[in-house]
Amino acid sequence: MILTAKVQDVFNEPGCDKNQGKSEKERKKGCSKQLAPGAAAGGCAFDGAKIALQPIVDVAHLVHGPIACEGNSWDNRHALSSGPLTFRTGFTTDISELDVIYGGEKRLYKAIKQIIEQYDPPAVFVYQTCVTALIGDDIEVVCKAASAKFGKPVIPVQAPGFAGVKNLGNKLAGEALLDYVIGTAEPDFTTPYDINIIGEYNLSGELWQVKPLLDAMGVRVLACISGDARYREIAYSHRAKAAMMVCSKAMINVARKMEERYQIPYFEGSFYGIGDMSDSLREIARLLVRQGAPEAILARTEALIRAEEARAWERIEPYRQRLQGKRVLLITGGVKSWSVVAALQEIGIEIVGTSVKKSTKEDKDRIKEIMGDEAHMIDDMPPREMYKMLKEARADIMLSGGRSQFVALKAKMPWMDINQERHHAFAGYEGMVTLVKEIDKTLHNPVWAQVRKAAPWDGTCA
């Protein structure tokens, strides 16, 4: 399928209410807003595709393009592996001027050959980029030829940066899995408790904060798409009994199409926040029972939730007094805005504002539900405005992604990373305890008093 058709297909998303609410004509325009030149921030479609697939740990991820796409971006996320580290090796064709003139297909083919000979991964993912798409390199043909020649799956990922924003890239990556990977292998055995987790990337090991809970319920993660995943697991993931879609709309197409093709029901849930975690566990159990699993799992799940919620609250309690009434400005995207809001409110933290720039309508509805009509939803806050808000101390701490960290730091205000570059895992009951601990640590770091102090020779605040 050519790219424009693929993008159209991805934009037609029956699983998305917002999408379905649009007219035929509007839907064709796609779900991403046109970016304003000179006032845009955020990643491209290639970035999104790479984010979504990179956590498959045993395959080689080869970026076909000039050095910028991989060279400037590799090894910058903390998706963790419990085994192979192939995914952390940066592979790129690093095309030259001559390749641009004569085409880079031969170089790509040779690159695939080199990687298979030297690293012998179970599969190679080939990422299209703007330049190679523009000059017309047909990566699908090259991948097909290489796959036939070397007897290994070589998967083309058609998400050049200029196709759109990061979120679109996530979906296009999902399309590559649907077209080339899912359903191409069979598991050794199946159980009534097999699930897929879709859109969880195991950043900082978050999957491992959740997995012991599923283990205790007796649930088997057949495949996580794509955190700490092996290629084969994704290939046989179509045999799961149910699926949970984690990262909001990032991979909704994967969840929905797997439901269509393989009758795997899915629900959307979150691992962030104590209540959300419990809801997700309940929903997993409920879906599995609906699919024929013995009902005993429901009692197990309730017992687990009781024990772990109590344990989490017990560990959070010492911080409640220290954090009560602290005001948080939350600048993040999509699902995290509501799931983190709920979690923070649980311990008495006040949310003075939350961004909804990347949130869907459902996300916004959830925020309203949690925060009431008073919800301070910020659609698009320019850094200057954030700075002002922090400088005027209308918030005690900002939680955001790395890009806006310096807005907070230059305002001499505490800041914490809750996006993909973070070093801490915040999922599940464990993660909430960690989140609270980290907020406490950041807020009460003596460094703030130090740096806010004016130099003794300046009367005024520096």
């Binding site: 491992w208 005993a296 017992a303 687990l304 950041t442 130090q450 130099a455 020779w457």
Partner: protein, 457 residues
């Protein structure tokens, strides 16, 4: 507030402490064209020499009175006499600086009296001033020896009742400042249009430079002329609590007031220094330092993520311990274990629950479960055993290059320390990376789930 614990064990295991005579000799190395002498057996000087050579990677002038069994029993007068005469004729130093050792102190040599007798017997020695300081190995530690030596230098060399020179000030650095620190401090003082006289000045002698000539004595450091002019200064800056007796001695002799900075690493500590200099000189704080201040603030913000909540174990002499413990505490660390070598009024005020006057064994025990070990190079084995990073601070630093140029003073020095330690925390992040087994469920939870299943059957 910290509880100060004294050693109760018989054997120091893996010592942290070094002795007074070595500290005194180190101070004398900051005097120009000086020959330090340890009045003791050859070994006393030799061990000290080797340690300083390994630390600085420089030739270290250090002589000995080479006491043996017989001379010790009979008294060391002859040996001191021969040593002084030999050094004067061979090395032709501007200054001979003698410190005692455990051996000669135990015997009870009265070196002050010896020197008087020797001076009467050899009038030609009048051209070579001799400084003597009593530094028994069995009392105090390195920093005490340093302070005692500086006091002796002031007593012997700085005259009383001089005409004041309005822009001249004295600097008395503690032994925890490196040559680079002294250099930085001098530059800061000069930027206010003041003329600093530093005693002793390691930045001139042990800053690891190439020299045109060879000399058996120190090359560079405080000259006799400078020391003898210190009475003309209008004020004295002392750095480190260890220097308080020296600063008081200076004030008594010269009448010029002193100000003591307990440390010059950290934002506020340096604010105080610059504010004081600005007031004294009437010169506004130069733009260069204002810029560096703002750079330091930025560095602190960038780095605090990696310091917050970290547990640190520090083994260092009191003033260095005070400097590092406070900086790390200000950056959000918890000082879980603080080990030091000798008494100091600072110990009770240390930002830690307790301070032990102890050894590296105590440090290693206390450092279990910590994120960072801070001590001199001898801590490396402990760090290896504990699998934690080791920030080298203090003397000796023999397994890293550039000890002389390690800057900790000023906004810039503070920034460098923060980056260096912060980078260690960063480099260590991958060790802390999660595994699938990182968050096991407790037995109680697993039992609750099992019970729920069983009750259905």
């Amino acid at each position: 507030m910290a509880i100060v614990l004294h050693p109760s064990k018989a054997a120091a295991v893996n010592p942290l402490k070094m002795s007074q005579p070595l500290g005194a000799s180190y101070a004398f190395l900051g005097m120009n064209r000086c020959m330090p002498v340890m009045h003791g057996s050859q070994g006393c000087a030799s061990f000290g020499l080797v340690l300083l050579v390994r630390h600085f990677r420089e030739a270290i002038p250090l002589q000995t009175t080479a006491m043996n069994e017989a001379t010790t029993i009979m008294g060391g007068l002859d040996n001191v006499e021969k040593a002084v005469l030999n050094i004067r004729s061979r090395a032709k130093p501007d200054l001979i600086a003698i410190c005692s050792t455990g051996l000669t102190e135990t015997k009870g040599d009265d070196v002050h009296a010896y020197l008087q007798l020797i001076g009467q017997k050899h009038p030609e020695l009048a051209d070579t001033p001799i400084v003597y300081v009593s530094t028994p190995d069995y009392i105090g530690a390195f920093q005490d020896g340093w302070a005692n030596a500086v006091s002796a230098l002031i007593e012997t060399l700085v005259p009383a009742g001089q005409q004041k020179s309005p822009r001249q000030i004295n600097i008395l650095p503690g032994c925890h400042l490196s040559p680079a620190d002294v250099e930085e401090l001098r530059e800061i003082v000069q930027s206010f249009g003041l003329v600093p006289l530093v005693l002793p000045d390691l930045s001139g002698s042990l800053d690891g430079h190439m020299s045109e000539e060879f000399s058996p004595t120190t090359m560079g450091g405080t000259t006799l002329a400078q020391a003898r002019n210190m009475g003309a200064s209008v004020a004295t800056i002392a750095i480190g609590e260890q220097m308080r007796p020296c600063a008081e001695r200076m004030q008594q002799r010269t009448g010029a007031p002193f100000v003591l900075f307990d440390r010059l690493t950290g934002l506020e500590a340096n604010d105080r220094l610059l504010a004081w200099l600005s007031e004294l000189s009437g010169v506004p704080v130069p733009a260069k330092w204002r810029r560096q201040r703002s750079q330091l603030q930025d560095a602190m913000l960038d780095a605090h993520f990696y310091f917050g909540g970290k547990k640190v174990a520090i083994g260092a002499e009191p003033d260095l311990l005070w400097t590092l413990a406070n900086l790390l505490q200000e950056m959000g660390c918890e000082i879980t274990c603080a080990i030091t070598t000798t008494q100091s009024p600072l110990l009770e005020k240390m930002p830690a629950a307790q301070v032990i006057i102890g050894d590296l064994e105590d440090l290693e025990k206390g450092a279990a479960g910590c994120d960072l070990l801070v001590t001199h190079s001898h801590g490396r084995q402990a760090a290896e055993r504990l699998h934690i990073p080791h920030y080298r601070a203090g003397l000796p630093m023999f397994d890293r290059l550039g000890a002389a140029h390690k800057l900790m003073l000023g906004y810039r020095g503070t920034r460098e320390v923060i980056f260096e330690i912060g980078n260690m925390f960063l480099a260590d992040l991958h060790h802390a990376a999660a595994t699938p087994q990182a968050w096991p469920l407790p037995e109680a939870t697993l039992k609750a789930v099992a019970d729920a299943t069983n009750s259905l059957q």
